[in-house]
């Protein structure tokens, strides 16, 4: 398609540019959006702002987490969840390696950090505790903002609720360099190991679905291809993300190594390997690179690989009602909701490519 | 221009909240080109009268007129010299003097030239670029005088213009003023505490009573013009001075 025929479309992401958003970058850079007829620009905003802009149809697409969708709909915002990006809930509890906290039940009575009593980390913690018969009253919860690595390393808390694909890696890397106080390494207790909660995904509003279903399908499909690209070839994803993410570690050597890995992976993919084989190829790639490069330099690649583990599934993009109900139960438990919602209206798998009920 | 005042009264709010009658009721008429000197006890409303004539303050009752037109607001025909020198501390001497011309839109070169012309007469040579903070009390007063003279107003209102000047300077400057006034054909009303100065300069000397100030004497000084400092040794001069003093003693 010609550039001037493309529809301008903004895509709202939370937070700031980050390697984790590489599926979106891939969908743009690899031309999937353009093929679907979109000229996409990215805007990063706080999650509630993303929700409000989409709900008021000021923008049409964005990514937010599942329980936000439930709460937003509870708060009267007509947004609809289209495509699950994270198949596994990305939150967990990180503890120092040498800690005597081994299971969730060991958390009772401990001093645990959390960014704040809001958002996915709070929901995740509540679900994790509930699954083990605990409540917030059983632990000593401390709000520490998004500074878990700093606070954990200075021994401010005994454990902390974190995003699995980021903070644990940061702490581990500091520990490896001996810059993390007494901490020598970390262990995580993922929420996903205990409960299946609906996680981050692509959303739009009811009006757009009603008026432009084809456009929605095209958009979701393009995003899906981007995600698939990243899962299949993380080295290439890392390279293309350099244009989008400020401060992504890179050097001439690393660039050359990644280019070689990306090309090799292309060839490998041409042999139509199955999902497990691809997963294995990611691990071996990392091991190869790690022989040559420090883990400090590879930390963001590690973040990407850890994220891919949370994204990958046999069928991408699909959510089941059970995970929505699990999330809603958590919210009811926390008092963020005081009555259950018509969850069927909150999401649809209708636009997920290749999905058949 | 003719300046007249009919049943004028100025009343302030006294500290306790009561009315404080400061001036009047007072009525008088000053013919065009006349020179009137006002003498009267401190606090009897002289400055208040000047402010009313300048259009700075509304009378509490009665009215003041310029050529039979009620005074509602400041008029460009009127020049006022305040009791304090009231200079702008951020302007040099020459710029303070030139202020009225600047406000009237006169070009920078022209107004500085006119101001510079006044400097020797005011005895301010060498201080053109000084700031008010660098002047003595008397020098500041001379700058203020320069500022009103440069306007060439048709009505000159002077509130104790020479209070801070020594006897010699005072005499010289007041004679200069006299000359300027005669050339310009302005009407002049001057508040002064110096009876001899009043008699030397004025056609009429108004004597005010204690607060609230009322006109208790209107002494017509019939000494011939132009007048000189020698005139002060005349017998007639002494008579007028005694006449005014007598009125004051009755005040």
């Amino acid at each position: 398609a010609q550039d001037d025929e493309l529809i301008d479309q903004t895509f709202l992401l939370t937070f700031i540019p980050n390697i984790q958003f590489s599926p979106t970058y891939a969908a743009i850079a690899n031309g999937h959006f353009a093929e679907a007829g979109f000229n996409v620009t990215i805007e990063h905003l706080d999650e509630p702002v993303v929700v409000d802009l989409i709900a008021s149809n000021q923008r049409q697409f964005g990514i937010v987490s599942g329980e936000q969708v439930i709460m937003a709909r509870f708060g009267g915002r007509p947004i609809v969840y289209l495509y699950e990006w994270f198949q596994q809930y990305p939150v967990g509890v990180v503890v120092p390696e040498n800690s005597d906290i081994e299971t969730v039940t060991d958390l009772a009575g401990r001093n645990i950090g959390i960014p704040g009593r809001f958002g996915a980390s709070y929901s995740g913690l509540t679900a994790l505790l509930a699954a083990n018969g605990l409540t917030e009253q059983d632990i000593d919860l401390e709000e520490i903002g998004f500074f878990a690595p700093d606070v954990v390393c200075v021994g401010g808390v005994e454990a902390s609720v974190v995003y699995l694909n980021n903070e644990p890696l940061q702490i581990a890397q500091r520990a490896e360099q001996g810059e993390c106080g007494d901490v020598t390494g970390v262990r995580v207790l993922p929420v996903a190991a205990e409960v299946d909660l609906v996680s981050n995904g692509l959303v739009t509003n009811e009006e757009t679905i009603a008026n432009q279903p084809e456009m929605v399908a095209a958009f979701v499909s393009a995003y899906h291809q981007g995600l698939q690209d990243v899962i299949n070839n993380p080295a290439a994803a890392y390279l293309l993300s350099l244009d989008y993410v400020d401060n992504l570690p890179i050097s001439d050597d690393l660039q050359a190594a990644l280019e070689a890995e990306a090309a090799a992976q292309e060839e490998f993919l041409a042999t139509n390997p199955d999902r497990e084989a691809i997963a294995e190829s990611r691990q071996t790639m990392y091991d190869r690179l790690h022989e040559q490069f420090s883990s400090e330099e590879l930390i963001q690649l590690q973040v990407l690989l850890k994220s891919i583990e949370l994204w990958d599934a046999e069928q991408l993009g699909v959510t089941d009602l059970a995970s929505w109900e699990a999330a809603q139960n958590v919210l009811l438990e926390m008092g963020f909701l005081n009555e259950p919602l018509d969850l069927e209206a909150a999401f649809t798998n209708e636009f997920v490519p290749g999905f058949e009920e | 221009m003719r300046v007249s005042v009919r049943d004028l009264q100025v009343t302030y709010r006294a500290p306790g909240g009561l009315a404080l009658p400061a001036l009047g009721p007072i009525s008088f008429e000053v013919e065009p080109e006349q020179f009137v000197a006002i003498v009267g006890p401190s606090g009897c409303g002289k400055s208040s009268l000047i402010r009313v004539l300048a259009g700075l303050q509304k009378p509490s009752s009665g009215s003041a007129y310029l050529n039979h037109q009620p005074i509602q607001e400041p008029s460009s025909a009127v020049g006022l010299m305040f009791q304090d020198s009231n200079l702008m501390p951020w302007r040099t001497v020459i710029d303070n003097i030139a202020l009225p011309l600047e406000l009237a839109g006169v070009s920078k070169m022209e107004r500085r030239a006119q101001a510079a012309d006044l400097i020797p007469q005011l005895g301010l040579e060498g201080f053109e670029e000084a700031y008010p903070g660098e002047l003595s009390g008397g020098m500041a007063q001379r700058v203020a005088l320069g500022r009103v003279l440069i306007q060439r107003p048709e009505v000159l209102l002077l509130d104790e213009p020479f209070g801070a000047l020594d006897a010699l300077t005072r005499e010289q400057i007041s004679l200069d003023l006299l000359q300027l006034w005669q050339q310009s054909g302005a009407t002049a009303i001057m508040v002064t505490h110096d009876i001899r100065e009043a008699v030397l300069l004025a056609d009429r000397v108004f004597v005010f009573s204690q607060r609230p100030g009322k006109l208790i004497a209107d002494v017509h000084i019939t000494l011939p013009r132009p007048r000189h400092s020698d005139d002060m040794f005349n017998e007639a001069f002494g008579d007028f001075v005694r006449q005014v003093r007598a009125a004051i003693d009755r005040a």
């Binding site: 509630p48 008021s56 709460m71 009267g76 915002r77 709000e143 903002g145 | 404080l20």
Partner: protein, 279 residues
């Protein structure tokens, strides 16, 4: 009524008149104080009536009213308002004291300005996000940290106004105090303070208003109570009426403080209003 107010003020502006009769002004002012809130309420009502924005962005006054009554009844309003009020007052006190003391010193020792201004300006330009970890490490996650952020916001305008206020004390009145052999304390209490009062009170008005946002910023970093925390929680749970309740409460705190300083100003500067004509 608004028309009256406007035509009155316009006249006043145009007539260039110095002496105004006092009673009339007071009446106008009394109207003014309720005029604005009523107007805002009316405009708000019409915005929601005309559905210019979705209700989840601007909810109706009724919805906010219902929420307000609810949080008053369940006691949460007082809880959060109390916490924030404490932080605001603490931050205000801290920031104003430090600002005034430092401002006083700088006003008298000009070289201090050169020595300290780089540090002070740098602090003002540094986002809290950058030193939030230190804030948490040093002051914990309790009320103290918010007082610190409040004080940081408040401090600067107070400092600057103190400097200019003290420096603009007339030199001839300083001379008077010197020949009267006033002690340094007397110089401050009897001359500098009253002479600088208008500018100091302006600094205090500015500070009192900004102290609120300072505390809120602190609560954004980390908190478990307070109106700023409430704004965050309410936004995160998509409860727009609650966001409005929290914001209105913040506004009430700010307006009360501003009003208190204005009253103080009316009292302390009463002498400035004593130049009036009586009819």
């Amino acid at each position: 009524m608004l028309a009256n107010v406007l035509s009155y003020t316009l006249n006043k502006f145009i007539s260039n008149e110095k002496y105004v009769l006092k009673p009339r002004r007071s009446v106008v002012r009394r109207y003014a104080l309720i005029a604005t809130p009523l107007t805002v309420l009316a405009v708000w009502h019409f915005i929601t009536l005309l559905e210019l924005f979705p209700v989840f962005i601007i909810p109706s006054p009724q919805a906010v009213g219902i929420k307000l009554i609810a949080v008053i009844q369940d006691g949460r309003l007082w809880l959060h308002m109390g916490v924030t009020l404490q932080e605001v007052l603490g931050g205000l006190f801290l920031g104003v004291s430090v600002g005034m003391i430092l401002g006083y010193l700088i006003a008298h020792i000009p070289v201090l300005e050169d020595l300290l201004s780089p540090i002070i300006v740098a602090f003002q330009a540094t986002p809290i996000l950058a030193y939030a970890p230190l804030l948490v490490i040093w002051f914990g996650t309790g009320i103290t940290g918010k007082m610190i952020t409040g004080a940081l916001v408040v401090f600067f305008p107070m400092l600057m106004n103190t400097i200019v206020g003290i420096r603009s004390v007339p030199e001839n009145l300083r001379d008077l105090m010197r020949v009267s052999r006033a002690s340094r304390w007397q110089l401050f209490a009897k001359l500098e303070l009253p002479a600088a009062m208008p500018v100091l009170l302006t600094g205090l008005k500015t500070s009192a208003t900004l102290a609120v946002i300072g505390a809120v910023v602190g609560e954004f970093v980390t908190a478990n109570a307070g109106l700023g925390y409430w704004v965050k929680v309410a936004r995160d749970s998509y409860d727009t009426p609650l966001v409005f309740v929290a914001v209105i409460s913040l506004t009430v705190i700010a307006l009360s403080l501003y009003g208190a300083v204005s009253l103080l100003e009316r009292r302390l500067l009463a002498w400035q209003r004593r130049h009036r004509l009586v009819d």
